[in-house]
Amino acid sequence: MNYRWNWEILLQEPYWSWIWSGLEWTLLISLSSWCVALVVGTLFGIARTASNRAVRAAADIYVGLFRNVPPLVQLFLWYSVFPEVLPEALGLWVKRDMPSPQFVTAAVAIGLFMAARVAEQVRAGIGAVGLRLLPAALATGLRPWQAYRLILLPLGLRAITKPLTSEFLITVKMSSIALTIGVLELTAESRHIENYTFQGFEAFGVATLIYLLLGLGVTGVMSLVDRYFGGDKLRRGDR
């Protein structure tokens, strides 16, 4: 193969700053969609353990829908179809005048997809550790939401920090699908560099390395969180 390697290209302007700005977008999308996923996912996870049948059914529908439709399709639906079904003025606002429409769409779409997965973890966590404590908690006179806040959630969430690490990692990697709607995140910027210089192997090589480091960073942070809240002790049965 006639390929001339030129790693120096990555240190040259503007390619260096493209990688950098790609990394910034990747971080932004990952973190904001992870926030959406955690908040929405926890709410739906709680709802899936609720005693009210209608609430449970609604949460089941959400998880079934968002977990089973491919995330790329969801992103296209949010980007291309959703603004068209809104009233015209609002649709135009979403398409044009909302701050960074592409980024917000990507963060929400990825966040809602991941929320369905997080909801499953939360439900499993509460089910595994806390649900059998609910009658006891209620018997002490706590109201249901107090029982969740003070007993079921702290125990349930602590039990699932490890699986949540995987979900966080998936979110980071999932951020790359934002390139399909034109967000110039890390993968898109690597392609960008390839298009201009035809030095794709170097660009994608560095992007791979950055994703790897991001992943290791996430794993490290999450195990710190796990240790801080005592998740490992809980799993060892050492309460």
């Binding site: 006639n2 390929y3 001339r4 030129n6 603004p83 034109g182 298009n195």
Partner: protein
Amino acid sequence: MKAKHALAVAAVLSMGIAAPAAAQTVDAIVAKLRATGTLSMGYRETLLPTSYLDENKKPTGYAVEMCHRIIDEVKKELKLPEIKVNYVPVTIQTRQALVANGTIDIECGGTVNTFGRNKQVDFSPVSYVAASQLLVLKKSGIADFKDLNGKIVAVATGGSSEPELKHIIEENKLNVRVLTVNDHAAGLIAVESRRADAYFNDNAAFFSLIKQSKAPDNLAVVGPEYGYSPQGFMVPKNNPTFLWIVNHAMGQMFKSGEAEKIYNKWFGPFGATVGPKLKAAWETFSYPE
């Protein structure tokens, strides 16, 4: 054990850095032609009218026809009785790698020749000169770059139009929001759904976009032709004999007026004629025998 691993890693890494130079053989395409009588032609599936699949799913178009003339010339020069053409579809993302690794012997699409790209592949003489213009909705009232003030302009990443748009914005001191899109189809959708007010791109792509549109009458191509994007056919490096035949065949077509005839056949229906920049490029390459 550890040292062994490190050695293996070092070997793999150094292969990536040092080996390609040693592995290159000169004139691999000619050797392959003599051995197998086949030639791989890269084509684009939807780049109307330059390189696309016709109703019978056969590659056709302006660039493909030119390449067939070149292949006739290859047959003559190498005195081969027959050349079997092996068609390989390419995209903007795959074309360079497929040419560089030798999967494709000649890429018959519309790739802009740049010095950067010349480090990885060789280019034929200029087949087409694209210039950048604006694709807009007729009712938008945009007619020139100056009208873009306060508007949203879509631009495809990776092409030559992206840095050009930056220049135009700086030159005219415009206040423009730039919407990056992934491909031409996304640019068209952005304009039609009013996500963007204009799609700035080289006008070669507009022919097929307008054809794809459900409401082509609503669309207009406006603005002065900006920039100089000479396109050519990519050929793998280290094939001096093959590249010479390509150059010679195209030079002959330029001189005889055959190139213009092929151009008019494919672009005529879209109302385009050979522009002054393309004509100048062809005249420059009309070397004497």
